[in-house]
């Protein structure tokens, strides 16, 4: 990316040109920070910070994304990747011809043997697309024809911290910007009152104390902190420090901000600092956020049938289901990148019990979200992605019994699904071997997925770069190919 463009993307941008009717590729610029509006007439400073930005690189299919991240590594073998061979060979050792020296984690590398285990859950084919889905995901099964399954995901890391960091930033080591930050940086915001990149967390009931999360997963890395993910939380203060101190009403706050603005205008005179105007605008954006965030988080005004659709858990703030309703509401407000993290998918032991609960947490709401978006005509240009940081082994970690097993981390193959945003519905991409261990057809690397998602936003992943420490960095590092066969 040329430096001018880079500069513009990273700068505090004002989109008055667009408002004046010049239009910039149909997309507003700016991100979290774009509060100027039309308050002042265009000045040189405005011009300086706005320009015809060559993004998107081509016509986008998607404008917004909801990434339903399933943290911990959901077992593809118990959800989507049906391998009856593993049931047949139950208890037998994983053949070395299949393992091919694959690195194991320290949790199973000491095991004497690696007893194969199929799923205890029943699989059936659904929809016209005949997608295989286990009984754990009945609601998802019903919308199979809306979904594109990728059975051939593979990654490079085998432990949680590096693997989830890799998925979110394209690098196993921390310090790079997260996916949402890249999108905010590259494409800016579509709305004036909410951040471009919003994150919500929920805790799984299958393994409530599973893997931790780290705020750097939605951090801006070396990009401007304007592009950091803003966490929305259940409770009184949905965004940190959003609520006025006790005893200060909105009216009083308004009054204070008016005096503050007047005082700050004096500052501009005293110091001749043109940036003061920008900082006044930050206060106005903060003030607007106080209502816009509160409004969007108040899901009580949703009709009953919505709660029925997303399931009873949706009534409890902070659950995955409640966050799904919020995600849809944020999409309606044109938020660019919404990331949900659902924790607890790390089933090293007691997998059958744990995964049933995990699946129940998310199945109905994930499916409801997709159908809700569809009904509202939003699925067309909203991409929904569902998946975790790696898969799980086809052999049992720990003792295999008739009803119980665990599975260790498996980076070589796992499944995710997508919907909307110009991705082919009712389609399955990629295949693993009959052991569900190696990808045998159409592999999709994490960087390929990232490249493909960016492609749907009209972004050439090799051109979305940021120069830092002398090097041009990309979300996809030095790799990644757009997988065209899953595009509709």
């Amino acid at each position: 990316m040329d430096p001018l463009h880079e500069h513009l993307l990273n700068k505090n941008r004002r989109h008055f040109l667009q408002k004046m009717g010049l239009g910039i590729g149909g997309l507003a610029l700016g991100s979290l920070l774009d509060p100027m509006g039309l308050k002042n007439s265009p000045t040189a400073a405005d011009l300086l910070q706005t320009g015809p930005v060559p993004l998107p690189h081509f016509a986008p299919k998607a404008k917004r994304i909801i990434y339903l991240f399933q943290s911990g590594g959901p077992s593809q073998l118990d959800l989507f990747d049906y391998k009856p061979k593993l049931n047949e060979m139950r208890g037998q050792d994983l053949p070395e011809s299949i393992r091919k020296g694959q690195r194991l984690t320290g949790m199973t590398s000491g095991q004497k043997n690696f007893p194969l285990t199929g799923s205890v859950f029943n699989f059936k084919q659904y929809g016209e697309s005949r997608a295989w889905i286990s009984e754990l995901m009945p609601y998802t099964a019903k919308i199979a024809d809306e979904l594109c399954f990728v059975k051939s995901m593979h990654t490079e890391a085998i432990n949680h911290d590096p693997a989830i960091t890799f998925f979110q930033t394209g690098s196993q080591q921390s310090g790079r910007p997260s996916f949402g930050s890249w999108m905010s940086y590259g494409l800016g915001s579509l709305n004036d009152n909410l951040p471009a990149f919003i994150v919500m967390l929920s805790r799984g009931s299958g393994r409530p104390n599973g893997q931790p999360l780290y705020s750097r997963l939605w951090g801006n890395g070396f990009l401007s902190s304007l592009h950091q993910g803003v966490q929305f939380r259940a409770g009184k203060d949905p965004v940190l420090y959003l609520k006025n101190p006790d005893g200060i009403s909105r009216k009083e706050r308004r009054q204070m901000l008016d005096y503050l603005a007047a005082m700050n205008e004096e500052q501009e005179k005293l110091f001749g600092d043109p940036e003061v105007a920008n900082r006044i605008a930050q206060y106005e954006m903060a003030y607007r956020m106080q209502t816009s965030v509160t409004d969007v988080m108040n899901i009580e005004d949703e009709p009953d049938h919505v709660f029925q659709m997303y399931g009873p858990e949706a009534l409890t703030p902070g659950t995955f289901a409640a966050n799904c309703i919020l995600a849809r509401r944020l999409i309606e407000k044109d938020v660019r990148f919404i990331q949900l993290y659902h924790m607890g998918w790390d089933q090293h032991d007691n997998l059958p019990t744990q995964i049933a609960k995990q699946a129940k947490d998310v199945d109905q709401a994930s499916a409801a979200l997709i159908m809700d978006l569809k009904q509202r005509g939003l699925l067309e240009d909203t991409l929904v992605v569902w998946g975790g940081e790696f898969g799980r082994t086809n052999y049992s970690q720990g003792t295999l019994t008739d009803t119980n097993y665990g599975r260790d981390h498996h980076p070589r193959s796992f499944s995710i699904f997508m919907a909307g945003g110009g991705i082919k519905p009712g389609f399955t991409y990629g295949e693993t071997d009959e052991f569900g261990y190696n990808v045998v057809k159409d592999p999709m690397h994490v960087h390929d997925l990232q490249a493909t998602i960016l492609n749907q936003f009209g972004v050439d992943h090799t051109k979305l770069t940021y120069k830092y420490q002398g090097r041009r960095f990309r979300l996809t590092d030095v790799a990644g190919n757009v997988i065209h066969s899953i595009l509709s």
């Binding site: 990316m1 430096p3 001018l4 004046m20 010049l22 979290l32 920070l33 300086l48 015809p52 984690t105 320290g106 949790m107 199973t108 949680h160 911290d161 080591q173 921390s174 310090g175 409530p208 104390n209 893997q211 931790p212 999360l213 780290y214 705020s215 750097r216 902190s225 304007l226 803003v230 203060d237 965004v239 940190l240 420090y241 006025n244 101190p245 005893g247 009216k251 009083e252 204070m256 005096y259 503050l260 005082m263 004096e266 500052q267 005293l270 110091f271 001749g272 600092d273 043109p274 940036e275 900082r279 006044i280 930050q282 206060y283 954006m285 903060a286 956020m289 981390h409 420490q469 002398g470």
Partner: protein
């Protein structure tokens, strides 16, 4: 005019203006510090003119580096067509099978293959090739051609030449100049037809100085003393006074903690607590007792290898253990051990050499002369620690020392071990008895050793002679060898950045080919040499030079004319107004409200933070719950706030503090609405507003409301309000009074909160 028609005209005129504006924007932007398009003898480019005389280092090489080196540079593996442009032999060699012409023929652009390729429009021969997503501007092409026409003079990279003191440049502003620094600054201002700014008002300069030297605003008493002191030495007295305050060490430490990636947790996955604060206490004390910079660094790099090291020198080595450490079940020990060793090499290079070497871990550096072999030679210095890759929960990673009360009393008096804690274990550096062999690792992978390497440094900077000890101590000797071209420049630049917000080299982490060129190269070298020779690495003496300069003492008031010509203020025709760092924003509220607890050092503290932040991300292991401290520990200075890397203090992060996951030599400077929310709504600021209102209300000398308002304003901003400001404050006060039924608080609280949110309060003016 009808609105629609008006809109149309406006639109039309904007369309017409746009191309002009873009040209102009372009010029503006490339006047910026990170630009590579600045002409040789002028730190800002107002025009797109091509310099009279093209300078290889400043005009040509940035173009070649950024556009060509990736394929025709130092990285042997990636090199295309067996052609390299980063060496003289390569650039002037024959083009082999590509062309019958030499790559560059001195004095003859037409006969230079390079010129043919950069002008080619045929994708097969065009350079850079279309698929690189790189392209040269017309100006860049012209610079290359003109340089060749002028005989293509070649020279080594500027930062690798030993800095030399140039004679002071001429300037008409000798009356303005306070010391040598100002001659360098003024001459460039003058060359642009501008003039430097007058001295800042006393209220402004003392506040600026106090924040810079102590991280806190001056007290009103100190301000009054300064205002009353009309002698010529008044300012210098303040400089000396503030540097003697123990808060000086806290301020300096707070910058070094970013560089040294200090934190109170291990950083990976479950992110368990670690105890590194004794090392932090050492840093504070080292600055306060003005340990010379060479010793400050040598102790941290190799305190344990000195002759009969003191315990203090060993504590200093904790610097190299500040990297993250994992306890994640299932990881491979060696993989992470390698990670830690690499982190030490990367941190040390970035902090002390101003070179980012991490790319060379996997392959030869693409832009700078650091081969993969050299990376691992550097790495080998740090590879002899008997340490684990994966630690157990609750384990202090070896090697460590145990510090108890008696030891503190006898040897480590700077360390603030509270009575409630009998002893602590502090990670330190210690060589294993049998030194490990170090190998280059293919693609940087822990399990792919290739060739054995010996301790060494990038030879283009300064070869690692046998005269140095072949260990970390030798590395420290190498850094402080008078022939080392980088050490003094890098530190002088970082100090400059600390006081002016931007280094003379705007990329403090990168003095290499891709880094920014210095805006004032002669000044940088003057500072570097002065710090090393005259000042003998005396940090206080050196800092005093900076703050005594007229450049530092200038007014920050911006003039339209200057803003137009030099919008990013590279010339420093006025002092650059800057946002205060996260720590100062909070500490300012604490100290002006009288809440600040000035205790120095000791275990980190937990002031208020929004509830639930630790709880919602934890796995249930380690630090699961944030328990805020009670009592006055809530009001300690922000550098003592407990730093959990995976969930850092949100108000600090919001104000651009780094995560401390790795070495950071420069913070971002942003303004966001989230920052406004913190200042408006964080109970810490609201409590400060309440406290200061109460304090003012209780003062007996203040009779009228106006007097109280005046005092309130002055306590926070350290100046008197203008008439207009006074009017606004009084009006606001009256408006609050008339609404008293709504607001239950003393209106002074609202006023105080407003003043804490005032632009000036969060700025260093």
């Amino acid at each position: 005019m009808k609105p629609a028609l008006f809109g149309k005209y406006l639109r039309l005129s904007l369309y017409l203006l746009l191309p002009l504006a873009l040209v102009w924007i372009y010029k503006y932007l490339f006047g910026g510090p990170k630009s590579e398009l600045i002409s040789s003898n002028d730190p800002i480019a107002f025009t797109q003119t091509i310099p009279e005389t093209i300078n290889y280092n400043f005009d040509v090489k940035p173009i070649l580096s950024d556009n060509c080196y990736a394929c025709h540079g130092p990285d042997a593996e990636a090199r295309q067509a067996n052609l390299r442009l980063d060496t003289e032999a390569g650039a002037f060699g024959d083009a082999k099978n590509l062309s019958t012409k030499p790559i560059i023929k001195r004095g003859n652009p037409e006969e230079s293959a390079l010129v043919f390729h950069i002008n080619s429009t045929d994708p097969k021969t065009q350079m850079p090739p279309p698929d690189s997503n790189l392209s040269l501007s017309e100006r860049e092409k012209q610079i290359l051609e003109k340089w060749i026409a002028q005989g293509a003079p070649w020279e080594g990279h500027w930062a690798y030449q030993i800095p030399k003191k140039a004679a002071l440049p001429q300037t008409n502003f000798t009356d303005w100049a306070q010391n040598e620094i100002d001659f360098f600054i003024a001459s460039k201002i003058q060359a642009r037809g501008l003039k430097p700014s007058p001295l800042a008002a006393k209220e402004i300069i003392l506040r600026r100085l106090a924040f810079d030297l102590t991280g806190l605003p001056p007290s009103l008493e100190l301000m009054d003393r300064f205002l009353q002191d009309e002698s010529d030495q008044a300012y210098e007295r303040m400089v000396d006074h503030l540097m003697e305050q123990p808060q000086f060490g806290e301020r300096m430490a707070s910058v070094w903690l970013d560089v040294a990636r200090y934190a109170d947790t291990h950083g990976y996955q479950d992110d368990l607590e670690r105890i590194m604060w004794p090392w932090r206490d050492w840093v504070i004390s080292a600055f306060n007792k003005n340990l010379p910079y060479d010793e400050f660094i040598t102790w941290q790099l190799a305190g344990d290898l000195l002759d009969e090291p003191t315990l203090e020198q060993i504590v200093a080595t904790g610097y190299n253990r500040n990297h993250k450490i994992t306890q994640e079940g299932g990881v491979i020990d060696e993989e992470y051990r390698v990670e830690y060793v690499a982190d030490r090499a990367i941190t040390t290079s970035k902090a002390l050499m101003g070179i980012t070497v991490e790319c060379a871990r996997c392959h030869d550096h693409k832009y700078d002369a650091v081969s993969q072999k050299e990376f691992f030679s550097l790495y080998s210095f740090f590879n002899n620690v008997d340490e684990k890759g994966r630690i157990e929960y609750g384990e202090t990673p070896a090697p460590f020392i145990t510090i108890d009360k008696d030891i503190v009393k006898e040897e480590l008096s700077f360390l603030h071990l509270p009575d409630s804690i009998p002893k602590v274990e502090l990670m330190i550096m210690e060589e294993v008895a049998d030194l490990r062999k170090t190998y280059t690792l293919s693609r940087g992978q822990y399990d792919a050793p290739e060739e054995e390497v010996q301790p060494g440094t990038p030879s283009r900077i300064l070869p690692f002679d046998k005269k140095y000890a072949q260990n970390r101590l030798g590395l420290a000797q190498w850094f402080f060898d008078e022939k080392n071209p980088l050490t003094s420049r890098v530190v002088a630049n970082r100090f400059w950045q600390q006081f002016f917000g931007r280094g003379l080299v705007a990329t403090p982490e990168d003095f290499g080919n891709q880094g920014a060129r210095p805006s004032h190269p002669e000044l940088l070298d003057w500072l570097a040499v002065t710090f090393r020779t005259e000042d003998q690495w005396n940090m206080k003496a050196f800092i005093k030079r900076i703050v005594m300069s007229g450049t530092y003492r200038q007014s920050s008031k911006q003039m339209d004319e200057v803003n137009r010509m030099d919008p990013t203020n590279i010339l420093l025709a006025h002092y650059p107004r800057q946002k205060l760092p996260a720590e100062m924003i909070r500490d300012n509220a604490l100290v002006t409200s009288g809440l600040l607890n000035t205790t120095i050092g000791g275990p980190s503290v937990k002031p208020h933070q929004p509830e639930g932040l630790w709880e919602e991300t934890t796995s249930g292991q380690g630090l699961t719950q944030y328990q805020p401290d009670g009592g006055s520990n809530r009001f300690r200075r922000s550098l003592y706030t407990f730093w959990k890397r995976t969930v850092p203090p949100p108000n600090m992060i919001t104000f651009d503090a780094p995560t401390r996951d790795f070495c950071t030599v420069e913070r971002q400077k942003t303004s966001t609405p989230l920052q406004s929310l913190v200042l408006l709504n964080d109970p810490q600021f609201f409590n400060a507003a309440k406290a200061i209102a109460k304090k003012i209300d209780a003062e007996t000398g203040l009779q009228t409301e106006s007097e109280k308002i005046l005092k309130l304003f002055r306590t926070i901003t350290l100046r008197k309000p203008t008439d207009e400001e006074k009017k606004l404050l009084n009006n606001y006060f009256d408006a609050l009074l008339s609404n008293r039924s709504v607001s239950s608080e003393n209106p002074l609280v609202d006023l105080a909160l407003l003043i804490y949110n005032l632009d000036e309060t969060t700025q260093k003016s």
